[in-house]
């Protein structure tokens, strides 16, 4: 890695050492799933959000590789980055690419300061994997758009300032025609109702978002009318290729090693740990090569799908592997060993890893298309 990236790494580590001192394991284990607005503001002040955005909009003007370094250090340390994660990863880049000059000047600096939370409104009750079948409609009015329909599984909608939403605006010959992306101001738009959904662990992070004659201004449209599908495809390359697709269970790994250090490890435990480290190293190499392609201005949808499919399978295997290596059950009680608490959290979270951002079957379909088989 270039020296510039490695010196940035040292800066981020020093920052995280300090900023995470009082963050409890339960929050660190959730990592990019945990929202902590104060922490996000500190990240913004330190200049670690919007790192690769242009300087003129408040960004860091640095490379994708340098951004990658910041992300992976945050994930490895279990930084609660959820509040700004989507904005930094995909909504900011989307606005920079397709937004008006006025919008960029208004929104991007706030994203970089860690003050804005975004959510992604794609899925609907009847449109999950088959996203192109979505029905929430934005109809033209004399002064803008009228929206009716329901989004679901929208992570952070209840905390977010904005949603980047995909709505139907027209009909085309193919189902993925006639879709458009919008910037929805969730806090200042009448006709939007947000209802939280509890997950299997009792947490409330995703939501149902109802649009009932919600009126949006003309300029809420992002990019080109009816070309939303192509924009979303680009966005998903960003959403699927990052280090969060194999580091979601890092807190568990971080607790596993010390336990083995204390209790001693036999040959088979050493082999199993080595295989985990090797998978981590290889997935990181794949993800880094996608970051390099993004830096070169490419849109590597196929490679991104590979990272996510293989990465999430790895993440999902960790709770099982850990239990083969150490004979301690998952235990969520506060007085349990930190390792057991992390194991409990990860066991419960793991089923969602391969679903959020597109299921494995769908990703492998994208890869097969890239191979020319579909």
């Amino acid at each position: 890695m270039p020296e510039g990236a490695q010196s940035l790494r040292r800066e981020v580590r020093a920052f995280l050492d300090d900023a995470l001192r009082d963050v409890p394991l339960s929050e660190r284990a959730l990592s990019w799933d945990a929202c902590n607005p104060d922490f996000s503001r500190r990240m913004g002040e330190a200049g670690f959000i919007g790192l690769s955005f242009p300087v003129e909009y408040g960004g860091g003007g640095r490379t994708q590789l340098e951004r990658f370094v910041v992300l992976e250090e945050c994930l490895a340390a279990g930084a609660p980055t959820g509040f700004h994660w989507f904005a930094d990863r995909q909504s900011g880049p989307l606005i920079l690419r397709y937004g008006s000059e006025e919008l960029k000047r208004r929104i991007i600096p706030l994203i970089c300061r860690g003050e804005l939370c975004f959510c992604i409104g794609m899925s609907e009750p009847d449109s999950g994997s088959d996203l192109a079948s979505l029905r929430t409609r934005a109809a033209r009015t004399s002064s803008g758009w009228r929206v009716n329909g329901t989004k679901i599984w929208t992570t952070n909608a209840h905390r977010a300032h904005y949603m980047i939403a995909l709505f139907r605006t027209g009909e085309g010959q193919r189902r993925n025609e006639g879709l458009s992306q919008f910037l929805v101001d969730l806090r200042n738009t009448p006709g939007i109702r947000i209802a939280p959904i509890r997950d299997i662990a009792g947490r409330e992070h995703f939501n149902e978002v109802h649009f009932e004659d919600a009126l949006l201004a003309e300029d809420a449209l992002i990019g080109v009318e009816n070309e939303g599908w192509a924009q979303v495809t680009e966005e998903l390359a960003l959403e699927r290729s990052g280090p969060e697709r194999y580091l979601s269970c890092q807190a568990l790994f971080n607790e596993l090693l010390p336990i083995l250090g204390e209790r001693g490890a036999g040959d088979s435990a050493a082999v199993a740990v080595g295989r985990i480290v090797a998978q981590l190293g290889a997935l990181r190499a794949m993800s880094l090569s996608v970051a390099a392609m993004l830096e070169d201005g490419e849109s590597p949808a196929l490679e991104a799908a590979m990272v996510k499919d293989m990465g999430t399978r790895f993440e999902q295997s960790l709770p099982r592997l850990a239990q083969e290596i150490v004979d301690l059950p998952p235990d969520g009680a506060e007085d349990a060993l930190p390792y057991q608490q992390a194991l409990h959290l990860m066991t419960v979270l793991a089923p969602s890893f391969s679903l959020r951002g597109g299921s494995g079957e769908i990703l492998r379909g994208i890869i097969a298309r890239g191979l020319g088989l579909r």
Binding site: M1, A265, A270, V273, G274, E303, M306, I367, L373
Partner: protein, 263 residues
């Protein structure tokens, strides 16, 4: 440092001309003498030798290009080994001695690139075959179950490619490791462990999708799968590398292990 684009182009052209699928069995029957002689005439064995010593003056990313292509095109002969022996400073005679093993961990590094290449070769062969072979009235590539397996196969090959390439880049940046403490050691361990570990899933899918024809000598899958099954065990099995990596990780703890992965 990236590989020299001119070298990439030269290698692709020369390999495609001489190792087309229909010529493979002929190329292998002669023990690969013809191909190796041609490659040496072009100086491909001298890629790691400095220009002052009559070499090409390239780096490890260039060596990856050649070793990977040898795997991907199922090149006969021992061009990759000769290339490493040349780097070790051996003269023409000793460099051709195929019997003696390479030093560790250079041998493991080399095998990772050959395995990544052979896996990619199987992806290409299998994708082409399943688009042609028809059953139930359509190409078997149109069945989702086949597509899912092909995607898995391509993902494994992509993983092998990335891990091996990263190891070659690490050796370029930090030098060939002299001990487990050396910076590039872990990158080589990751590459050899992952590539070896993925050999069986890769060959299983490639042969499976081919059906019985893939089991025939005529089809030629053995030019990829036989070396893969051999290479996975040479210069350390995946379990051997994993054990060494695991012991170090447990002794060092999570912080130091992460630091070693990201140097």
């Amino acid at each position: 440092m990236r590989a020299d684009p001119l070298l990439v182009e030269t290698v692709e052209r020369m390999f495609a001309e001489n190792l087309a699928p229909e010529n493979l069995s002929e190329a292998h029957r002669s023990g690969g003498a013809g191909f190796t002689a041609l490659a040496r005439e072009m100086g491909l064995d001298m890629v790691l030798v400095p220009q002052e010593q009559g070499g090409y003056g390239g780096g490890w990313p260039d060596a990856f290009v050649i070793a990977e292509a040898c795997g991907r095109y199922a090149a006969p002969g021992a061009l990759p080994e000769i290339m490493i022996r040349r780097w070790l400073g051996h003269g023409a005679d000793r460099a051709e001695d195929g019997a003696s093993p390479l030093p560790m961990p250079a041998g493991a590094l080399l095998r990772s690139a050959q395995m990544a290449g052979a896996a990619q070769g199987l992806v290409e062969r299998t994708a082409a075959y399943c688009s042609e072979r028809r059953q139930f009235g359509r190409p078997i590539a149109k069945f989702q179950a086949v597509q899912q397996q092909m995607a898995e196969l391509a993902g494994y090959a992509g993983c092998m490619q990335a891990a091996s390439q990263q190891a070659f880049a690490a050796v370029q940046e930090h030098g060939m490791p002299e001990s487990e403490e050396s910076v590039a050691w872990l990158a080589i361990a990751v590459a050899k462990c992952r590539c070896s570990e993925l050999v069986h899933p890769v060959t299983q899918i490639a042969h499976g999708v081919h059906g019985a024809i893939g089991f025939t000598e005529e089809m030629g899958l053995q030019y990829f799968s036989l070396p893969l099954w051999r290479w996975r065990a040479e210069y350390g099995r995946d379990a051997d590398w994993a054990e060494a990596v695991g012991r170090r990780a447990i002794a060092a703890g999570p912080g130091a292990t992460w630091a070693a992965l990201t140097r």
